[in-house]
């Protein structure tokens, strides 16, 4: 992200550390959509993604003094989001031990949500659901947030070669799943 005319993430972070509150708002607005899309794909729940985008920036704000000039923001931001998403999913798995009625209610809500999706949304959601979690995460970081392979590897804490391989297999599968859909 960030074209020639726009200040880089790092410039905005420096301005923010220097006390310019508007720089933080600019960062938030720049990254909220890629983060939200990525978290939606990770959690399969747009409402939960809303919460976690806000929480990611709250954490970033709280730990802003830890950032050192010259360090790219993106991997840091997406690592915070990743940890929050994993905690949430872990919590949901624990909720899975609740009585069946509670689980059934949750499933009903999800089914109602799915019914209200557009056809494309439904297909994309289904295509991502066919991917193993590690491929899903790599593809989401690439497609939703434009992260280069090196940053994907850093966020996922895996070697670059592994990230490339997960991307390759994941993207191939997504293309196959969505091959019959045409761009309007």
């Amino acid at each position: 992200m960030g074209s020639v005319s726009e200040p880089s993430d790092e410039t905005l972070l420096l301005a923010w550390q220097g006390g310019d509150a508007s720089a933080f708002e600019a960062l938030f607005r720049r990254w909220q959509t890629p983060l939200h899309r990525h978290l939606t794909r990770m959690l399969d729940d747009p409402a939960a993604a809303d919460d976690l985008v806000v929480e990611t920036f709250l954490r970033l704000e709280r730990h802003r003094r830890r950032w050192r000039p010259g360090t790219p923001l993106r991997p840091w931001l997406f690592t915070i989001a990743r940890n929050l998403a994993r905690n949430r999913l872990r919590g949901e798995r624990l909720w899975g031990w609740l009585p069946l009625t509670a689980v059934r209610e949750d499933r009903d809500v999800r089914q109602a949500m799915a019914a209200s999706d557009s056809e494309i949304q439904r297909r994309v959601r289904a295509a991502f659901a066919t991917l193993p979690p590690a491929q899903r995460e790599a593809c989401s970081l690439r497609l939703m947030a434009d992260l280069p392979v090196e940053e994907i590897a850093r966020v996922m804490r895996i070697p670059t070669g592994t990230a490339k391989s997960r991307l390759f297999h994941g993207l191939r599968r997504l293309r196959a799943e969505l091959a019959d859909l045409k761009e309007e």
């Binding site: 607005r29 939200h36 899309r37 709250l58 497609l143 997504l174 859909l181």
Partner: protein, 71 residues
Amino acid sequence: MPTLGLIRRGTPAPPPDLWTRFEAQMRERDEVVRVTLPAVGWGELAAVAALVAIVAVVPDPVGFLAASGMF
């Protein structure tokens, strides 16, 4: 890659009020975390100075304070 366009179109965008929500939560957090210490005036400073002086000058500060009924 046409698939990229499709996938982005097929992923809902965030609601427009996320920044407002963030600001509200920041305010809420600040309210919870903020600790306000009581103001220190001349009276409090004089009391601390007297205590430090007693501890430094008097050979048996506890006995002195006990004998003077302050401890």
